[in-house]
């Protein structure tokens, strides 16, 4: 009985067909009556290009489409050729579809790896307006200009045409699928796993390796790309110990599942080999479900750290290059067996098998057994093997020994093939399926990520791994070991080797008996008599539409090196990385140039082995989770006050505290600045880095890391410190207070808290290890609040315990002390000022920060206490001429900032020698100045260039820049700081601030950088 006579086991999609609409689809007319690892009792509905179909659980989209007789599934990248399904695995170059819709639309997914789920929606891509009638297939007629190198040659001139004309046309016509327009609604995770032995691939070799290592007690992770472990054991008619191979697989999986130290991860692709036994893997957790299950990620990006790895990734079958070899209905011979045996699908009704090897002859038998007519067996070998002869005879098929398929005939589907026999006679054989095989290419990808180039083995007609990454072994067909029995034995050997290397005692697996599997092969890459292409397009790289003619052209134009060939023709550069293309291309180039294949070389294959969505690489780190947020101890309090926050590195800091009635942020900031200048303000300065430094040599150590002197700083005093890099430029600044004989607390800028800590450890551990000193970051341990303004002492008096005298004599400018507040609470008080006013910074253990700010607000209310944010802080420091981030930009020297006199000449310190270089102290260097627009209300743009008045706006007349600028309510004018060549000598001069981005030129007067209280009286009040 023919399988096509079989009635479907389930009734088709119910419902009458409305008259005049599309005809009702017969249900799965190509489904075989029996066989396959599918659940025939359950019907799964899916939607492809607007038509409804059914399949079964266990199907892929490709097998379900084939079961429904759909063979045209896409259009090719460049020429819009009709394309079908070539393979049954992840190497698929043709059957690329857009999966799902809306925000979950995913382009270029391979129909051969998409597990069918109920309600699946997919559409073909790269066609307009429809798949059957693709207007853009006219590209095929334009092929003379779309050949190899067309990007480089055709569209080079005139340049202006590129953007307006060529690019939009090419993008419209040539391309792959469309990415989703909306944000990805799913979430992705990242995870790390550790194991003794990582086994990649769960075919016979991988299962044997995992069993052997697992039984020895090793921690094993077995990763399988497919939903169902088993590899070719699921796809072949094969018995192990007289039972179906899939039973052996089931038993092996059951045993592995019962081992506590073994983890089997299906739907998991190991995509990269990295340093130190680290492997990248992508687990598809819910991609096979109709909807992402709640609380489950769609995919997990795994980092697997393995002491040893067994690569058992199998092999990929090679197509043969001949004109029309891309027609729908032409399929790899092994894939034909997979569709018949694993999915219970007939990929055609009348087949021709064309191969150069014995392995493909299994296809003849499987086709016949499935009831599919085999019109001819074309064996390219002059002397066909007994296997071929037996297979053809048993299938009742004509054997054409020493024959070749020279051309495929048909448009949207294969209708016949032209065959040339050994004597040169040609014949046309009608068929709708051509099963072809040029041999198998071991999956060497993971072995090449460390630069190891595979080695060509002539007897296999294939490349096998040679130099392996450290800790990796290869087993089975991935190593060129053909046949199930050999793969099982090789896998067991590799698993034992890996486990032994990890210190486990192993014993070999008892081997099941397997019937002989012949694998003889003779090379065959193409059936072309010339590479001119007169006979039609013979595809080498299906996904990128690279033909044999393109390779000929590359040779002609001198791109003979493999890497050049690749870049010139784009061969192997599509999302499939040329898995079905590269070796054929190499063989053709070898032939064209009269070299051997090893002489021609190979290209390196880089991670990832399979395409990976950006979402998976990003994992959960997107939006608000892109980086951690650090909150100050007063964050809740500031939030209650309605503060606007700004990011300072990872910190969220209050930018200003708007009050009802404030007309805008500028008014708010003006009010905050004025409060500090006339009454009192408070600002959280916890974000400044704080480093506790202790030890008998702490002072000596500070002498080394700061450019200025520290030895004479008494206990109870703080000092400004300037830190240089070893190249003499300014690194950071801050104040350091001496709290005890051997204890200092250093502050750093917010941005450099981490880098300064690292630098101090470097100085201590590497440059001056003899100093008896220790240090630790206490940034997070202390909440620190600036209390600034003429009434700050009055406010502090309310909370500082009475035992502590705050008078100017007892606690002068730059004093520092450990005190108690609020009746015994430990605190630190520093008389520091960034604003230039009488000011303090008070620190308490971080957990009391919130209480402190609320107490200060309460006690300060009678004095008009006003919270201020980073914006007012910036205005205050510009008014006082204090350099900050924009001035400490890594390119300025102490001299540039007007602090040259701080550099000690009596000691060694980091940066001393290089800071003395003449070029770094040249007065012509841009040096710190104050800037004041001639018209006070002219906005002074930060970043503007400073040019002499009247000079042309050219780089040659550029003399410096505006580094910081703000409206100063204290001065009643815009003011700024800048760096200007010979700056200090030019006070009083008028220059121009050019802001080409804003299209503004502002006349500014050069003034000293301190705008408020230049004599410092207020500081010392």
């Amino acid at each position: 009985m023919s399988p096509f006579d079989a009635a479907p086991t389930q009734s088709p999609t119910p419902g009458p067909t409305p008259s005049g609409s599309r005809p009702r689809q017969p249900t799965q007319p190509f489904r075989l009556a029996e066989g396959g690892l599918i659940d025939r009792d359950t019907l799964v509905r899916f939607h492809f290009d607007g038509r409804d179909f059914t399949g079964h659980p266990g199907d892929t989209l490709a097998s379900a489409l084939l079961a429904n007789g759909v063979r045209l599934v896409g259009r090719s990248f460049k020429y819009h050729r009709p394309r079908g399904i070539l393979s049954a695995g992840p190497e698929e170059p043709n059957a690329l579809v857009e999966l799902r819709t809306g925000p979950r639309r995913e382009p270029n997914t391979r129909a051969t790896t998409i597990e069918l789920f109920d309600g699946l929606e997919a559409s073909s891509q790269n066609r307009f307006p429809s798949l059957r009638h693709d207007l853009l297939s006219i590209n095929g007629l334009l092929s003379p200009i779309l050949t190899a190198g067309f990007y480089y040659k055709t569209f080079m001139w005139p340049a202006a045409f590129w953007e307006k004309l060529y690019e939009p046309i090419i993008r419209r016509a040539a391309g792959l699928g469309r990415a989703a327009d909306e944000a990805d609604p799913d979430h992705y995770e990242k995870a790390t796993a550790f194991c003794d032995v990582l086994v990649v691939g769960a075919g016979p070799a991988g299962l044997a390796a995992a069993l052997t290592a697992g039984r020895a007690g090793a921690r094993v992770i077995l990763c399988e790309d497919d939903a169902q472990p088993g590899g070719r054991l699921l796809a072949e008619q094969l018995s192990l110990d007289g039972r179906p191979a899939r039973d052996w697989v089931r038993d092996a999986l059951a045993e592995l599942g019962a081992m506590p130290e073994v983890r089997v991860m299906s739907r998991t692709t190991v995509f990269g080999t990295y340093d130190g036994g680290t492997y990248g893997a992508l687990e598809h957790v819910t991609d096979h479900l109709a909807a992402t299950a709640p609380h489950l990620p769609r995919q997990v990006l795994w980092r697997i750290v393995a002491r040893r790895c067994v690569l058992a990734a199998g092999a990929i079958e090679r197509p043969v290059v001949f004109p029309g070899n891309d027609r729908p209905g032409i399929m790899l011979a092994g894939a034909v067996r997979t569709y018949i045996n694993r999915f219970g699908v007939a990929p055609g009704r009348k087949a021709v098998v064309f191969a150069n090897n014995d392995d493909a002859m299994r296809t003849v038998a499987d086709l016949a057994k499935a009831g599919i007519a085999v019109a001819a067996v074309v064996d390219s070998r002059a002397a066909p093997s007994a296997t071929s002869r037996d297979a053809a005879r048993d299938a009742g098929a004509r054997l054409i020994a020493g024959g070749q398929v020279t051309r495929a005939i048909g448009g949207r589907a294969l209708t016949a093939v032209r065959i040339r026999d050994a004597a040169g006679r040609e014949d046309i054989v009608p068929c709708d399926l051509l099963a072809m095989s040029g041999g198998w290419n071991p999956n060497v990808h993971l072995t090449t990520h460390h630069g190891g180039r595979p080695e060509y083995i002539a007897s296999l007609c294939a490349f096998v791994p040679s130099v392996l990454p450290p800790g990796m072994g290869v087993a089975g067909m991935a190593a060129g070991v053909a046949g199930t029995a050999a793969a099982l034995a090789d896998g067991s050997r590799a698993g034992a080797e890996a486990a032994t290397a990890c210190g486990f005692a192993t014993s070999p697996l008892s081997m099941p008996s397997v019937p002989a599997e012949p694998s003889g092969i003779e090379p065959l890459w193409h059936t072309l008599s010339a590479f001119g292409g007169a006979a039609g397009k013979a595809f080498v790289d299906f996904q990128n539409d690279v033909t044999a003619k393109d390779i000929g052209l590359a040779r002609q134009e001198g791109f003979r090196a493999v890497e050049h060939l690749k870049r010139y023709t784009t061969l192997g550069m599509a999302t499939d990385q040329g898995k079905t293309a590269n070796v054929n291309a190499l063989a053709i180039m070898a032939e064209l140039t009269g070299r051997t294949i090893p002489e021609t070389g190979t290209t390196l294959i880089r991670p990832p082995v399979q395409p990976i969505a950006i979402g998976a690489l990003a994992g959960p780190h997107r939006g608000g989770h892109f980086k951690p947020a650090r909150l100050t101890p007063t964050h809740d309090w500031a939030t209650e006050l309605g503060a606007t926050f700004t990011a300072a590195g990872l910190w969220q800091r209050a930018q200003w505290f708007a009050r009802p009635g404030d007309a805008g942020w500028q008014e708010t900031v003006n009010r905050e600045v004025t409060a500090v200048r006339t009454a009192v303000g408070i600002c959280d300065v916890t974000t400044l880095g704080k480093i506790d430094i202790q030890g008998p040599d702490a002072a000596a150590f500070l002498e080394r890391v700061y450019a200025n002197a520290w030895k004479k700083l008494p206990v109870g005093r703080a000092r400004y410190g300037l830190m240089l890099r070893e190249d003499g430029f300014v690194f950071d600044d801050g104040t350091t207070a001496r709290l005890g004989d051997t204890q200092y607390v250093m502050t750093t800028t917010t941005a450099n808290a981490g880098p300064v800590m690292q630098h101090l450890e470097f100085c201590h551990q590497w440059l001056w290890p003899d100093y008896d000193v220790r240090m630790i970051s206490v940034t997070d341990q202390w909440a620190q609040i600036a209390v600034a303004g003429p009434k700050s002492r009055d406010v502090l008096r309310q909370i500082v315990d009475t035992a502590y005298d705050l008078s100017n004599d007892a606690f002068p400018y730059m004093a520092a002390a450990e005190i108690t507040i609020c009746g015994g609470q430990k605190a630190r008080l520093f008389r520091l000022s960034f604003s230039g006013e009488l000011a303090y910074e008070i620190a308490v253990p971080a957990r009391f920060g919130d209480a402190l700010v609320r107490r200060l607000m309460q006690s300060g209310a009678p004095f008009g206490i006003t919270p201020y944010g980073t914006e007012a802080l910036g205005v205050l420091r510009i008014e006082k001429g204090h350099p900050a981030g924009p001035e400490l930009n890594g390119q300025t020297t102490a001299h540039d900032l007007g602090m040259g006199r701080l550099l000690s000449t009596r000691k060694d310190f980091v940066g001393r020698a290089m800071a003395q270089r003449p070029a770094l102290t040249d007065p012509a260097r841009p040096t710190l100045v104050g800037l004041r627009p001639v018209a006070p209300h002219d906005v002074l743009p930060a970043g503007a260039h400073l040019l002499p008045k009247g000079s042309p706006a050219t780089a040659a007349s550029d003399q410096g820049w505006v580094s910081s600028a703000a409206w100063s309510p204290s001065v009643g004018s815009w003011i700024g700081l800048g760096l200007l060549s010979n700056g200090p000598a030019r006070h009083g001069e008028i220059v121009c601030a050019h802001d080409p981005l804003g299209g503004r030129v502002v006349e500014v007067e050069i003034v000293p950088p301190v705008f408020v209280d230049p004599t410092g009286e207020r500081l010392h009040a």
């Binding site: 130190g276 036994g277 590497w766 060694d908 020698a913």
Partner: protein, 99 residues
């Protein structure tokens, strides 16, 4: 890449940061008269070899014990051949110089 910290054991690359050549030594600093030793300083600060093969270099275990390490790494393969605490390396070097 995996680095074995002498204090913390084998850890992932992302816990460490790289500084560079550990074979350079800081020229004598006391007293650096203007211009003195300029060449030695320029070499120390700016000039780096680009060796192929084993290279002694400084790494910082910032997300671990905060140790500076001298890591011997093969620049061709990224194989980590040795790791030592930097402070021990300096002390040993000085002892050798004294002996």
């Amino acid at each position: 890449m995996r680095i074995t910290c002498p204090c913390c054991g084998e850890r992932g690359l992302d816990e460490f940061s790289y500084r560079g050549d550990a074979t350079l030594s800081r020229p004598a600093g006391d007293p650096p008269l203007p211009g003195a030793g300029a060449e030695a300083w320029a070499e120390y600060v700016y000039l780096r070899d680009n060796p192929s093969g084993p290279h002694r270099e400084l790494w910082y275990h910032g997300a671990g014990c905060r140790s500076w390490l001298v890591v011997t790494r093969n620049t061709r393969t990224h194989e980590i051949l040795d790791t030592e605490r930097a402070v021990n390396v300096v002390r040993a070097t000085r002892k050798d110089a004294e002996a």
